[in-house]
Amino acid sequence: MISWADAHTQAAAQAAELHADLDIDLTQPVDVFAAIERLGLVLAFAPLGKISGLYIPRGRSAGILLHQGHPRTRQRYTAGHELGHHVFNHAAEVDLELEEALRRGDVERWPDHEKQAEAFGAWFLMPRKLLRRGLKRLGVDRPRDPYDVYALSLWLGTSYTATARQLSATRLVDYPVAEQWARIPPRNVKRALVGEMVPDDLHNDVWWLDGGHHQQPVEARPGDRLVLTLGEIPSSGFSWRISAAPEEIKLLADSYEDEWEPELSQGGPGLDSEADDAEELIGGAHPRSFVFEVDPQAERAIHHLALAKDRAWEPDRASEEFELLVSINPPLHGIQVPSSELALSGGGPTAA
């Protein structure tokens, strides 16, 4: 039986080779679905119950089947795992609840081929260079808490649990800390972040956004929540207002008007100071958070969400603007790619 360390060593080398072969840009999250397509594999989505994904090694009709009901981040993670089976020339595999198995912590008993596939998925989606880039976007060198891990996983398009573990494998976080974080169910992180504003379906994600996301794209799914926190100086008269929002993105709460408050301990603007004099300070910035819901019935589209910080009596004199490009991606169903393989679908993954 190989150790996890050996599995990671092998997987890191295989992943780096495939990155190079496919000329994958490692400054951006890896598009694992596109990689699967370029390798000529059939990729399909279907309701799979307790199964996360399947790998079918059958020559030209080899393919990967993923659970259509899982969050996109989890689908990508499973896709990376199944791709690992392909890269290591494994036999057909049916993978159950991978994330839960990871959180249970009995990973030492996993068979060699599962260790290799798991490690490959992690290194393919989360090489050290890409993790560092994601952390830089968050404004930190190393993740400080599970909230950072969750935010990083959203940007990478990976699962929370796998991201926590990969931070340890890449030595960006000490093993005991990463293990502790990895055992926290993602739904608990979401609840801690937004409390009562957590999505109705906990498979949906909570996108934690701030001013650094200005003019950045967000790939959300119907039912996701967007929590946008921006700095505002209530003593200045300048106030954020929504200047453009599509029907598909609805405001649920405003921390300046509603009782709801976000969890800002992860480093949001305007944190309370511990200095004795802080309570005497007058006129400073105070974070303002908005919660938006992506309509659960929304269709695939790209929307423009915009806010302007201005004064009600001088609306044409904004001191700051914020824009977000929200790409809504409904769940994928059926066979996706490549189209050239569609004729083979009758003998493809669904037969497994």
């Binding site: 505002e232 003593s235 200045s236 008269g237 008007e257 004099d277 300070l281 007058i282 006129g283």
Partner: protein, 216 residues
Amino acid sequence: MSDFRADQSPVGDQGDRPTCVAFAVGGAHEWLAADGELRSAEDAMWAAHQIGTVPGREEISVRWALEGLSAHEHASEQAWPYGTPQWPAGRPAAALGCANRRALPAWLRLQPLSFTAIREQLAAGNAVLVSLRVVPAAWRRPDATIDAEPGRKAPGNHAVLAVGATKPGEDPERAIVKNSWGPQWGRDGYGYLTRRYLESYGVRMHVLEREGDGAR
């Protein structure tokens, strides 16, 4: 109602910066000095930060501003115009010259905060600086009345200069305050602060004292 708006310097505009205290203190100094010279808000920011500072925070306390200006005097707006340069830059050469600085009148902190105290201090000829928590919607009313029922969410705080107040028995009870959001806000830059808002959201009051017998 006492109303000293006619005695005030022009209403300033702090823009999108946490400098309300500097404008309120400057307005108070200009009113009591009555020499037609504007005081520099930037210099008040600088002077306050000589007394105290919280890392990463630009805003100041009223006490720091008053202590700082008492120790270093208050430069004119001409010597250090707003934003050129912006604090945390040091005093420019013109603001270092004694000819361009004026001593700050005596000041004190008033406790407890009350509407009656504002009225009495104004009647004595003094300038009253009022710090308040901000219920945002209360400051956007078209009739320039600053009012909100108790218990509303107040995410920040603000400082203004009281320049008038209703007399005992007048209803509704309210104070006239000079804001620093430009002359387009409220009534030519002034608002009417209700007693209810003051008592629900007031934080602190400080007084700049007029020299001699300033009773009005």
